[in-house]
């Protein structure tokens, strides 16, 4: 037994075991088609070339690569990051970039420097499971704000801010994923971004813009980041996880001067410095390889998989099931017939060798019972089709079961009225 049970901090109390997470252990077996995890398809990279780059980093820059480095991150890499961020319209100075161990760490650091326990964070409805995990661990009051087909709804945002102003809990951040949203698969129009920014400015609340998928659109130019419209009121999170490789754990924050200073100090306190080896590998990759071409390869690959998912769902899903049509990124958000509960249905899906993430994982308040997230980034198109076929069978069997028992809405989930998922890499 754990002898330290009574010693843990309050913020660790949310870190509990859950049946849902346990079920995902099965999803890693090869028999299962996992439409659950958002693992980038890193096999699309040329691994020999990557090995060469890594070897040369050690051989030629070993004294730097294997040593501690700057807490803010490698200077050259920060310049290169600006070149990439420029593709989504972000103009900045290398001094305002902080390199982090994936943008997840950026999310953690920003929350750490802004939020005291009980402070309010506004998030989309649904929102990224990994962000909810961070906000929970800093004991934030998470308030979901409705979305429409263009993402975060400005009217709902305004109402939430007005409502919060009347309460004791100040709103510290508006957290949004404007492009190819995880899990909703939606993208804010340019006009929508302007509206959201105007409201944030009016209420004087910073926007935390999470943009890991911005360059993975399937049509036209990449959507311009909200940060491209305002360099003082927006903190921008970017990542190499999806455009190079998630295992490198290199992401970044672009922040206004004052925030950046705090971030660097917080980052140093947390990890001293980001991995020099990873940073130099990324930097050399960007300098020597046709990385824009590689992004095109990823875009094509994911577009083909998205098409497979959408076509399979169109052909196979039972009536009453609906889904979003992503124009980029990794995910489609599915709404089940109203009498079904995606959490209750998960063990049946696992037995049928298909996995998804139940919608409740993307809410801090128990919503999402009738939703699930499907990701199409990892399995190949034929496996995706097979997965959808299995899932359609599961939904039909569940409908049959629910109809047998005349259950109208199955909103309650087992054991815990407000199940919260602690994110792990299977769920990201």
């Amino acid at each position: 037994m754990d002898p330290w049970v009574d010693s843990y901090a309050q913020r660790a109390q949310g870190l509990t075991a859950s049946a849902i997470r346990a079920l995902f252990a099965v999803a890693s077996r090869p028999e299962v088609v996992s439409l659950a995890g958002g693992m980038p398809f890193v096999s699309a990279l040329d691994s020999d070339r990557f090995a060469e780059i890594a070897a040369r980093v050690v051989r030629e820059q070993g004294a730097v690569a294997l040593q501690y480095g700057s807490g803010q991150g490698d200077q050259t890499l920060r310049e290169q990051i600006l070149e990439i961020s420029g593709l989504v319209g972000v103009r900045s100075h290398p001094d305002d970039v902080v390199v982090t161990a994936g943008s997840q760490m950026g999310l953690d650091l920003v929350t750490k420097i802004f939020c005291d326990p009980g402070d309010t964070v506004l998030v989309e409805s649904p929102s990224y499971v990994g962000a909810l995990g961070v906000f929970r661990s800093y004991q934030c009051n998470v308030v979901h704000v409705a979305m429409d087909s263009e993402g975060l709804d400005p009217q709902a945002l305004r109402e939430a801010l007005v409502h919060a102003r009347a309460s004791d809990s100040p709103v510290k951040l508006i957290y949004t994923i404007p492009s190819f949203h995880n899990p909703a698969g939606l993208t804010q129009s340019f006009q929508r971004r302007q509206e959201i920014l105007a409201i944030a400015q009016e209420f004087n609340v910073p926007i935390l813009e999470d943009d890991p998928y911005g360059l993975l659109g399937f049509e036209g130019e990449p959507p311009q980041a909200i940060r491209s419209l305002d360099d003082q009121g927006v903190i921008y999170l970017g990542s190499f996880s999806k455009i190079i490789a998630s295992g490198l754990r290199v992401g970044w924050v672009i922040a206004p001067h004052g925030v950046r200073e705090k971030l660097v100090l917080a980052a140093e306190a947390a990890t001293l410095c980001p991995s020099n080896f990873s940073q130099l590998t990324v930097s050399r990759y960007l300098a020597e390889q046709p990385w824009q071409q590689q992004i095109k390869v990823f875009q094509e690959l994911y577009r083909e998989r998205r098409d497979s998912l959408l076509q399979s769902m169109q052909a196979l899903m039972p009536a009453g099931t609906t889904w979003t049509v992503p124009k980029g990124g990794f995910y489609s958000w599915v709404t089940l017939p109203h009498q079904l509960n995606a959490t209750t249905m998960l063990p049946r899906a696992i037995s049928s060798l298909v996995a998804y993430v139940p919608g409740t994982g993307f809410y801090a308040d128990g919503q999402g019972a009738h939703n699930l997230r499907l990701s199409y980034c990892y399995p190949d198109p034929s496996r995706i089709e097979e997965g959808v076929r299995r899932l359609a069978g599961v939904i039909e069997a569940e409908l049959d079961l629910v109809n047998t028992f005349g259950v109208k809405t199955s909103g309650e989930t087992r054991g815990n009225s407000q199940p919260q998922l602690n994110p792990n890499s299977d769920l990201i």
Binding site: V5, A19, E398, L401, F405, S410
Partner: protein, 317 residues
């Protein structure tokens, strides 16, 4: 000696099983430093590696720690028997008796299982669920517990205090299997009694008393350290402890179990013992019950399992 610790599997208890396997493997490495201890998942390659009954095996003995279907029913054990490889734990025939909670409840001493029925989903569909549920709820009474007929870790188990909760609970439980048990809920002290059976002399280890802080010993309560309070030794009088211990040994014998079992039961306020279920590949994780009982008995997991491994090998000769 090459020992295969078989854990994982393909059901909802995979994660629990992997943790059980890791724990037992580590303990055995300490107590049997000369043996080669390999953790393996159940798949086609593993079955091939076992060779045939007449041929050579790549392992000398298997410790099956796959929980739930395949692992604790007759499936895996029949396969191991056909392959002729020694393994720790109950035979396929007794697994078939113990795994199905309905079958086991009918076999335990003195009709000590709370009143229950067990139905397949098709029965509800074809006969009409409302009339069946009405009969069941009147006949068994409330509160009642809905649970999959097989499987563990309390997955799919729900306590229903009123009639409206029963149908949604059935929807949940049928997610874990095709037959579901509806059983009268008994309240009292919840206990888990481990029986270790070495040299044909099954003995009960100190019963572990379970007090979930949330009131329900569900999955989260089982696997989150601190979510459940355990009392070993339990807080019951010594005569009750003796009866409970004798009872678990009797269950072990009635069902023809071998090596190790864990009987879960409730002692009500009258001192009556009520059978819930018996596990033949009980959880061995950091928060599991059997390791606590082993420690309370002054033994250790490595010692117990090395005895069981030796016994399994000897049995096959």
């Amino acid at each position: 000696m090459r020992i295969a610790i078989l854990s994982g599997g393909l059901n909802a208890e995979r994660d629990v099983s992997l943790r059980s396997g890791r724990r037992v493997a580590e303990a055995l490495r300490d107590t049997m430093p000369v043996a080669e201890i390999v953790e393996v998942d159940l798949n086609g390659e593993f079955l091939d590696s076992l060779g045939s009954a007449t041929g050579k095996h790549s392992f000398d003995v298997v410790v099956p720690l796959i929980h739930g279907a395949i692992g604790e029913d007759a499936t895996l054990r029949s396969m191991l028997e056909l392959k002729g490889i020694p393994f720790v734990g109950s035979s396929a025939a007794s697994a078939a008796r113990s795994f199905d909670k309905g079958v086991a409840s009918g076999l335990v001493p003195n009709g000590s299982a709370p009143q229950f029925v067990a139905f397949p989903q098709s029965f509800f569909r074809e006969m009409g669920a409302p009339r069946i549920l009405e009969t069941v709820i009147v006949g068994i009474g409330l509160p009642l517990v809905v649970k999959p007929i097989s499987g563990g870790s309390a997955l799919g188990v729900r306590l229903c205090a009123d009639a409206e909760q029963v149908a949604p609970a059935l929807v949940d439980a049928f997610g874990y299997g095709d037959r579901v048990m509806l059983q009268s809920a008994v309240s009292g002290t919840e206990l888990a009694v481990t029986v270790i059976d070495i040299g044909g002399e099954p003995i009960a280890l100190p019963p572990v008393e379970i007090v979930p802080l949330s009131g329900v010993y569900d999955f989260d309560a089982r696997y989150t350290a601190g979510a459940t309070e355990f009392f070993v030794p339990c807080r019951l009088d010594s005569d009750v402890v003796q009866r409970v211990s004798d009872y678990a040994v009797a269950v072990h014998a009635y069902l023809g179990l071998r090596d190790i079992s864990r009987t879960d039961l409730i002692v009500d306020s009258d001192g009556t013992i009520w059978f819930l279920e018996v596990n033949i590949a009980p959880g061995m994780t950091e928060t599991s019950l059997v390791p606590q009982a082993i420690e309370a008995a002054g033994l250790n997991v490595g010692g117990v399992f090395s005895d069981l491994v030796t016994q399994a090998v000897t049995r096959s000769h």
